[in-house]
Amino acid sequence: MITDTMLSTAAAEADQVIQNSLPAKEECDHHFSPHFEGKMRRVLLKERHRAVYQFLRRAACFVTAILLVGSVWLAVDTEARAAFFAWVKERYETYVVYRFAGEADKQANAMHYEPAWLPEGYEKAKESISEAGAFYVYQNKEGEMISFICSEGTDATALFLISDDTTAKKVSVDELPADFYQASDEETSNALVWLSETGDSVFCITAPLSEQTLIQIAESVKKE
Protein backbone atom coordinates (compact mmCIF):
# COMPACT_ATOMS: atom_id res chain seq x y z
CA MET A 1 0.00 0.00 0.00
CA ILE A 2 1.49 3.32 -1.09
CA THR A 3 0.05 6.28 0.80
CA ASP A 4 0.08 9.83 -0.54
CA THR A 5 2.54 10.81 2.21
CA MET A 6 4.93 8.03 1.19
CA LEU A 7 4.58 9.08 -2.42
CA SER A 8 5.19 12.72 -1.65
CA THR A 9 8.29 11.97 0.45
CA ALA A 10 9.73 9.58 -2.13
CA ALA A 11 8.96 11.99 -4.99
CA ALA A 12 10.84 14.77 -3.18
CA GLU A 13 13.83 12.47 -2.68
CA ALA A 14 13.71 11.32 -6.32
CA ASP A 15 13.68 14.92 -7.45
CA GLN A 16 16.74 15.61 -5.28
CA VAL A 17 18.57 12.62 -6.79
CA ILE A 18 17.87 13.96 -10.28
CA GLN A 19 19.08 17.44 -9.33
CA ASN A 20 22.26 15.98 -7.80
CA SER A 21 22.96 14.09 -11.01
CA LEU A 22 23.03 17.29 -13.05
CA PRO A 23 26.05 19.55 -13.45
CA ALA A 24 26.03 22.89 -11.65
CA LYS A 25 24.16 25.46 -13.69
CA GLU A 26 27.31 27.60 -13.87
CA GLU A 27 28.97 24.77 -15.80
CA CYS A 28 26.19 24.64 -18.40
CA ASP A 29 27.40 27.41 -20.65
CA HIS A 30 25.91 27.37 -24.11
CA HIS A 31 25.94 30.05 -26.76
CA PHE A 32 22.34 30.16 -27.87
CA SER A 33 21.56 30.88 -31.50
CA PRO A 34 20.15 34.29 -32.54
CA HIS A 35 17.04 32.46 -33.80
CA PHE A 36 16.46 31.01 -30.34
CA GLU A 37 17.15 34.35 -28.64
CA GLY A 38 14.61 36.02 -30.94
CA LYS A 39 11.93 33.46 -30.16
CA MET A 40 12.63 33.75 -26.45
CA ARG A 41 12.43 37.53 -26.58
CA ARG A 42 8.88 37.19 -27.88
CA VAL A 43 7.99 34.73 -25.10
CA LEU A 44 9.40 37.09 -22.46
CA LEU A 45 7.65 40.11 -23.97
CA LYS A 46 4.34 38.33 -24.09
CA GLU A 47 4.68 37.29 -20.46
CA ARG A 48 5.59 40.81 -19.38
CA HIS A 49 2.63 42.28 -21.23
CA ARG A 50 0.28 39.64 -19.85
CA ALA A 51 1.41 40.55 -16.34
CA VAL A 52 0.85 44.26 -17.02
CA TYR A 53 -2.60 43.54 -18.47
CA GLN A 54 -3.61 41.51 -15.43
CA PHE A 55 -2.27 44.20 -13.11
CA LEU A 56 -4.26 46.89 -14.87
CA ARG A 57 -7.41 44.80 -14.96
CA ARG A 58 -7.11 44.16 -11.21
CA ALA A 59 -6.70 47.87 -10.52
CA ALA A 60 -9.70 49.52 -8.91
CA CYS A 61 -9.68 52.29 -11.48
CA PHE A 62 -10.04 52.10 -15.22
CA VAL A 63 -6.78 52.38 -17.09
CA THR A 64 -6.64 52.98 -20.81
CA ALA A 65 -2.98 53.47 -21.61
CA ILE A 66 0.32 53.53 -19.79
CA LEU A 67 3.89 54.11 -20.76
CA LEU A 68 6.18 51.30 -19.73
CA VAL A 69 9.82 52.02 -19.32
CA GLY A 70 12.70 49.64 -18.90
CA SER A 71 15.29 47.61 -20.68
CA VAL A 72 13.93 44.38 -19.25
CA TRP A 73 13.13 42.44 -22.38
CA LEU A 74 16.21 43.37 -24.29
CA ALA A 75 18.55 42.65 -21.42
CA VAL A 76 18.54 39.05 -22.55
CA ASP A 77 19.21 39.80 -26.17
CA THR A 78 21.88 42.35 -26.82
CA GLU A 79 22.01 41.52 -30.52
CA ALA A 80 18.37 42.51 -30.92
CA ARG A 81 19.15 45.87 -29.40
CA ALA A 82 21.29 46.76 -32.37
CA ALA A 83 18.95 45.18 -34.90
CA PHE A 84 15.87 47.24 -33.99
CA PHE A 85 15.40 50.94 -34.19
CA ALA A 86 11.73 51.65 -34.51
CA TRP A 87 8.33 51.83 -32.92
CA VAL A 88 6.70 48.49 -33.53
CA LYS A 89 2.99 47.82 -33.03
CA GLU A 90 2.12 44.42 -31.64
CA ARG A 91 -1.54 43.52 -31.36
CA TYR A 92 -2.64 40.90 -28.87
CA GLU A 93 -6.09 39.57 -28.08
CA THR A 94 -6.92 42.15 -25.42
CA TYR A 95 -4.27 44.84 -25.74
CA VAL A 96 -1.97 46.64 -28.12
CA VAL A 97 1.66 47.46 -27.46
CA TYR A 98 3.64 50.11 -29.31
CA ARG A 99 7.21 49.21 -28.48
CA PHE A 100 10.38 51.11 -29.12
CA ALA A 101 13.59 49.16 -29.36
CA GLY A 102 16.92 50.61 -30.26
CA GLU A 103 19.40 53.20 -29.19
CA ALA A 104 17.65 56.40 -28.23
CA ASP A 105 18.54 59.71 -29.83
CA LYS A 106 19.60 61.65 -26.74
CA GLN A 107 19.21 64.93 -28.58
CA ALA A 108 15.58 64.19 -29.38
CA ASN A 109 14.87 63.14 -25.81
CA ALA A 110 15.52 66.66 -24.63
CA MET A 111 12.40 67.87 -26.47
CA HIS A 112 8.79 67.39 -25.50
CA TYR A 113 5.48 67.95 -27.19
CA GLU A 114 2.19 69.33 -25.99
CA PRO A 115 -1.22 70.02 -27.58
CA ALA A 116 -1.70 73.69 -28.50
CA TRP A 117 -5.48 73.31 -28.69
CA LEU A 118 -7.99 71.64 -26.37
CA PRO A 119 -11.79 71.82 -26.21
CA GLU A 120 -13.02 74.74 -24.13
CA GLY A 121 -12.88 74.44 -20.36
CA TYR A 122 -9.95 72.04 -20.04
CA GLU A 123 -6.93 73.00 -17.97
CA LYS A 124 -3.71 71.19 -17.17
CA ALA A 125 -4.17 69.13 -13.98
CA LYS A 126 -1.08 66.97 -14.00
CA GLU A 127 2.28 66.96 -15.71
CA SER A 128 5.07 64.42 -15.65
CA ILE A 129 8.23 64.61 -17.72
CA SER A 130 10.97 62.05 -17.65
CA GLU A 131 13.63 60.65 -19.98
CA ALA A 132 11.04 58.21 -21.26
CA GLY A 133 8.69 60.93 -22.36
CA ALA A 134 6.00 63.20 -21.07
CA PHE A 135 2.41 62.90 -20.08
CA TYR A 136 -0.14 65.51 -19.27
CA VAL A 137 -3.65 65.30 -17.89
CA TYR A 138 -6.16 68.05 -18.61
CA GLN A 139 -9.41 68.34 -16.74
CA ASN A 140 -12.59 70.41 -17.03
CA LYS A 141 -14.95 71.56 -14.27
CA GLU A 142 -17.08 68.44 -14.72
CA GLY A 143 -14.04 66.31 -13.92
CA GLU A 144 -13.71 64.98 -17.48
CA MET A 145 -10.13 64.34 -18.47
CA ILE A 146 -7.94 64.30 -21.53
CA SER A 147 -4.57 62.62 -21.33
CA PHE A 148 -1.66 63.14 -23.67
CA ILE A 149 1.41 60.89 -23.76
CA CYS A 150 4.45 61.34 -25.93
CA SER A 151 7.62 59.33 -25.96
CA GLU A 152 10.59 60.02 -28.11
CA GLY A 153 12.24 56.67 -28.42
CA THR A 154 13.80 55.88 -25.11
CA ASP A 155 15.42 52.49 -25.24
CA ALA A 156 12.88 49.71 -24.69
CA THR A 157 9.96 52.00 -23.94
CA ALA A 158 6.48 50.71 -24.66
CA LEU A 159 3.06 52.26 -24.88
CA PHE A 160 0.58 49.75 -23.53
CA LEU A 161 -3.04 50.18 -24.54
CA ILE A 162 -5.94 48.05 -23.35
CA SER A 163 -8.10 47.33 -26.36
CA ASP A 164 -10.49 44.53 -25.46
CA ASP A 165 -13.55 46.82 -25.32
CA THR A 166 -12.59 48.94 -28.29
CA THR A 167 -12.88 48.96 -32.08
CA ALA A 168 -9.75 49.99 -33.96
CA LYS A 169 -9.89 52.20 -37.03
CA LYS A 170 -7.20 53.69 -39.31
CA VAL A 171 -7.33 57.50 -39.45
CA SER A 172 -4.91 60.35 -40.27
CA VAL A 173 -3.29 63.06 -38.19
CA ASP A 174 -1.82 65.73 -40.47
CA GLU A 175 -1.64 63.06 -43.18
CA LEU A 176 0.29 60.73 -40.89
CA PRO A 177 -1.30 57.31 -40.35
CA ALA A 178 -2.92 56.93 -36.92
CA ASP A 179 -4.94 54.36 -34.99
CA PHE A 180 -8.23 55.42 -33.42
CA TYR A 181 -9.63 53.13 -30.72
CA GLN A 182 -13.34 53.64 -30.21
CA ALA A 183 -14.54 52.45 -26.78
CA SER A 184 -17.72 50.40 -26.66
CA ASP A 185 -19.38 52.69 -24.10
CA GLU A 186 -19.48 56.43 -23.57
CA GLU A 187 -17.96 56.33 -20.10
CA THR A 188 -14.75 54.80 -21.36
CA SER A 189 -12.08 56.87 -23.05
CA ASN A 190 -11.36 56.61 -26.75
CA ALA A 191 -7.72 56.66 -27.78
CA LEU A 192 -5.73 58.00 -30.70
CA VAL A 193 -2.17 56.82 -31.34
CA TRP A 194 0.21 58.00 -34.03
CA LEU A 195 3.92 58.29 -34.79
CA SER A 196 5.94 61.33 -35.78
CA GLU A 197 6.96 61.76 -39.41
CA THR A 198 10.42 60.41 -38.65
CA GLY A 199 8.93 57.46 -36.78
CA ASP A 200 10.98 58.00 -33.65
CA SER A 201 8.23 59.47 -31.45
CA VAL A 202 4.90 58.01 -30.43
CA PHE A 203 1.88 60.04 -29.32
CA CYS A 204 -1.28 58.95 -27.56
CA ILE A 205 -4.37 60.93 -26.60
CA THR A 206 -7.12 59.36 -24.55
CA ALA A 207 -10.42 61.01 -23.69
CA PRO A 208 -14.16 60.32 -23.86
CA LEU A 209 -14.34 62.61 -26.88
CA SER A 210 -15.21 62.03 -30.52
CA GLU A 211 -12.77 60.89 -33.20
CA GLN A 212 -12.84 64.32 -34.84
CA THR A 213 -12.10 66.12 -31.56
CA LEU A 214 -9.20 63.81 -30.75
CA ILE A 215 -7.78 64.34 -34.23
CA GLN A 216 -8.15 68.10 -33.84
CA ILE A 217 -6.21 67.96 -30.56
CA ALA A 218 -3.61 65.71 -32.20
CA GLU A 219 -3.12 68.07 -35.14
CA SER A 220 -2.40 70.90 -32.73
CA VAL A 221 0.48 69.05 -31.03
CA LYS A 222 3.67 71.08 -31.20
CA LYS A 223 7.17 70.83 -29.81
CA GLU A 224 7.53 72.84 -26.64
Binding site: I2, K25, H30, S71
Partner: protein
Protein backbone atom coordinates in the same frame (compact mmCIF):
# COMPACT_ATOMS: atom_id res chain seq x y z
CA UNK B 1 -15.90 58.65 -15.90
CA UNK B 2 -13.24 57.00 -13.82
CA UNK B 3 -9.91 57.42 -15.46
CA UNK B 4 -6.38 56.96 -14.38
CA UNK B 5 -3.13 57.19 -16.22
CA UNK B 6 0.34 56.50 -15.09
CA UNK B 7 3.90 56.01 -16.12
CA UNK B 8 5.48 52.89 -14.76
CA UNK B 9 9.23 52.87 -14.52
CA UNK B 10 10.83 49.56 -13.67
CA UNK B 11 14.27 49.61 -15.28
CA UNK B 12 15.81 47.07 -12.96
CA UNK B 13 12.89 44.83 -12.24
CA UNK B 14 13.04 41.60 -14.17
CA UNK B 15 9.97 39.48 -14.69
CA UNK B 16 9.77 36.16 -12.90
CA UNK B 17 10.03 34.38 -16.24
CA UNK B 18 13.12 36.30 -17.27
CA UNK B 19 14.83 35.46 -13.98
CA UNK B 20 14.10 31.80 -14.57
CA UNK B 21 15.29 32.09 -18.15
CA UNK B 22 18.58 33.75 -17.27
CA UNK B 23 19.25 31.39 -14.38
CA UNK B 24 18.32 28.01 -15.82
CA UNK B 25 18.45 28.16 -19.61
CA UNK B 26 21.94 26.63 -19.71
CA UNK B 27 20.98 23.78 -17.42
CA UNK B 28 17.77 23.18 -19.31
CA UNK B 29 19.73 23.09 -22.55
CA UNK B 30 22.09 20.54 -21.03
CA UNK B 31 19.14 18.32 -20.11
CA UNK B 32 17.45 18.64 -23.50
CA UNK B 33 20.68 18.12 -25.43
CA UNK B 34 21.54 15.01 -23.41
CA UNK B 35 18.29 13.50 -24.70
CA UNK B 36 18.21 14.87 -28.24
CA UNK B 37 21.97 15.05 -29.04
CA UNK B 38 21.26 17.93 -31.38
CA UNK B 39 21.76 21.55 -30.37
CA UNK B 40 19.07 23.02 -32.60
CA UNK B 41 16.51 20.47 -31.44
CA UNK B 42 17.53 21.11 -27.84
CA UNK B 43 16.92 24.85 -28.32
CA UNK B 44 13.50 24.08 -29.83
CA UNK B 45 12.66 21.94 -26.81
CA UNK B 46 13.76 24.68 -24.42
CA UNK B 47 11.65 27.21 -26.29
CA UNK B 48 8.62 24.93 -25.91
CA UNK B 49 9.47 24.42 -22.25
CA UNK B 50 9.53 28.17 -21.61
CA UNK B 51 6.18 28.64 -23.33
CA UNK B 52 4.71 26.12 -20.89
CA UNK B 53 6.51 27.67 -17.93
CA UNK B 54 5.15 31.09 -18.94
CA UNK B 55 1.62 29.74 -19.19
CA UNK B 56 1.89 28.36 -15.66
CA UNK B 57 4.10 31.06 -14.14
CA UNK B 58 1.57 31.89 -11.39
CA UNK B 59 2.36 28.57 -9.74
CA UNK B 60 5.99 29.57 -9.21
CA UNK B 61 6.54 31.58 -6.04
CA UNK B 62 10.31 31.88 -6.02
CA UNK B 63 11.91 32.08 -9.47
CA UNK B 64 15.38 31.05 -8.33
CA UNK B 65 15.32 28.19 -5.81
CA UNK B 66 15.97 24.42 -5.80
CA UNK B 67 12.29 23.60 -6.28
CA UNK B 68 12.00 25.83 -9.33
CA UNK B 69 15.19 24.32 -10.71
CA UNK B 70 13.73 20.82 -10.35
CA UNK B 71 10.49 21.95 -11.95
CA UNK B 72 12.08 23.58 -15.00
CA UNK B 73 14.39 20.61 -15.48
CA UNK B 74 11.34 18.32 -15.45
CA UNK B 75 9.61 20.47 -18.07
CA UNK B 76 12.77 20.61 -20.20
CA UNK B 77 13.07 16.83 -20.09
CA UNK B 78 9.40 16.44 -20.94
CA UNK B 79 9.61 18.74 -23.95
CA UNK B 80 12.84 17.13 -25.14
CA UNK B 81 11.21 13.70 -25.00
CA UNK B 82 8.20 15.04 -26.90
CA UNK B 83 10.51 16.31 -29.61
CA UNK B 84 12.52 13.09 -29.58
CA UNK B 85 9.34 11.13 -30.22
CA UNK B 86 8.36 13.44 -33.05
CA UNK B 87 11.83 13.27 -34.60
CA UNK B 88 12.06 9.48 -34.69
CA UNK B 89 8.58 9.39 -36.27
CA UNK B 90 8.00 5.88 -35.08
CA UNK B 91 4.28 5.37 -34.58
CA UNK B 92 4.81 2.02 -32.93
CA UNK B 93 6.92 3.41 -30.13
CA UNK B 94 4.82 3.32 -27.01
CA UNK B 95 4.21 6.90 -25.98
CA UNK B 96 5.02 6.52 -22.34
CA UNK B 97 7.60 3.76 -22.19
CA UNK B 98 11.21 3.33 -23.03
CA UNK B 99 12.01 6.88 -24.08
CA UNK B 100 15.35 7.79 -22.53
CA UNK B 101 15.34 10.69 -20.08
CA UNK B 102 17.87 12.13 -17.64
CA UNK B 103 20.51 9.64 -16.44
CA UNK B 104 21.08 9.25 -12.70
CA UNK B 105 22.14 6.78 -10.05
CA UNK B 106 20.34 6.20 -6.76
CA UNK B 107 22.21 4.62 -3.88
CA UNK B 108 19.73 5.38 -1.12
CA UNK B 109 17.54 2.95 0.78
CA UNK B 110 14.01 4.18 0.14
CA UNK B 111 12.47 1.49 -2.06
CA UNK B 112 9.70 3.78 -3.28
CA UNK B 113 12.21 6.45 -4.31
CA UNK B 114 14.17 3.80 -6.20
CA UNK B 115 10.95 2.71 -7.94
CA UNK B 116 10.06 6.27 -8.96
CA UNK B 117 13.52 6.64 -10.46
CA UNK B 118 13.08 3.39 -12.39
CA UNK B 119 9.89 4.60 -14.03
CA UNK B 120 9.93 5.59 -17.70
CA UNK B 121 10.63 9.33 -17.92
CA UNK B 122 7.08 10.30 -18.78
CA UNK B 123 5.64 8.40 -15.82
CA UNK B 124 8.29 9.79 -13.50
CA UNK B 125 7.53 13.32 -14.66
CA UNK B 126 3.84 12.78 -13.92
CA UNK B 127 4.60 11.48 -10.43
CA UNK B 128 6.95 14.38 -9.67
CA UNK B 129 4.61 17.04 -11.01
CA UNK B 130 1.64 15.60 -9.14
CA UNK B 131 3.15 14.54 -5.83
CA UNK B 132 6.21 16.75 -5.42
CA UNK B 133 5.30 19.95 -7.23
CA UNK B 134 1.61 19.72 -6.31
CA UNK B 135 0.01 20.14 -9.73
CA UNK B 136 -3.46 18.78 -10.45
CA UNK B 137 -4.04 16.40 -13.37
CA UNK B 138 -5.61 19.30 -15.26
CA UNK B 139 -2.53 21.47 -14.68
CA UNK B 140 -0.18 18.68 -15.72
CA UNK B 141 -2.25 18.23 -18.88
CA UNK B 142 -1.69 21.91 -19.68
CA UNK B 143 2.04 21.70 -18.94
CA UNK B 144 2.53 18.56 -21.02
CA UNK B 145 0.29 19.83 -23.81
CA UNK B 146 -2.04 16.83 -23.69
CA UNK B 147 -5.77 16.45 -23.09
CA UNK B 148 -7.19 16.04 -19.61
CA UNK B 149 -8.29 12.54 -20.54
CA UNK B 150 -4.78 11.59 -21.73
CA UNK B 151 -3.27 13.09 -18.57
CA UNK B 152 -5.69 11.14 -16.38
CA UNK B 153 -4.74 7.92 -18.15
CA UNK B 154 -1.06 8.77 -17.86
CA UNK B 155 -1.47 9.47 -14.15
CA UNK B 156 -3.24 6.15 -13.61
CA UNK B 157 -0.72 4.19 -15.65
CA UNK B 158 2.18 5.86 -13.84
CA UNK B 159 0.72 4.92 -10.47
CA UNK B 160 -0.05 1.37 -11.58
CA UNK B 161 3.47 0.91 -12.90
CA UNK B 162 4.86 2.31 -9.67
CA UNK B 163 2.73 -0.07 -7.60
CA UNK B 164 3.95 -3.04 -9.66
CA UNK B 165 7.58 -2.01 -9.28
CA UNK B 166 7.14 -1.42 -5.55
CA UNK B 167 5.45 -4.77 -5.08
CA UNK B 168 8.33 -6.52 -6.82
CA UNK B 169 10.82 -4.52 -4.77
CA UNK B 170 9.10 -5.56 -1.53
CA UNK B 171 8.96 -9.21 -2.61
CA UNK B 172 12.64 -9.27 -3.42
Amino acid sequence: MIFYLSIIETPEEKSKLEQIYLEYRGLMFHVANSILHNEQDAEDAIHQAFIKIAENIQKIDEPVCPKTQGYVVTIAENKAIDLYRRRIKHPMVEMDDEVPGISFVYEGENALTACILKLPARYREMILLRYHYGYSVKEVAAIMGISFSAASKLDQRAKNKLKDLYKKEEQS
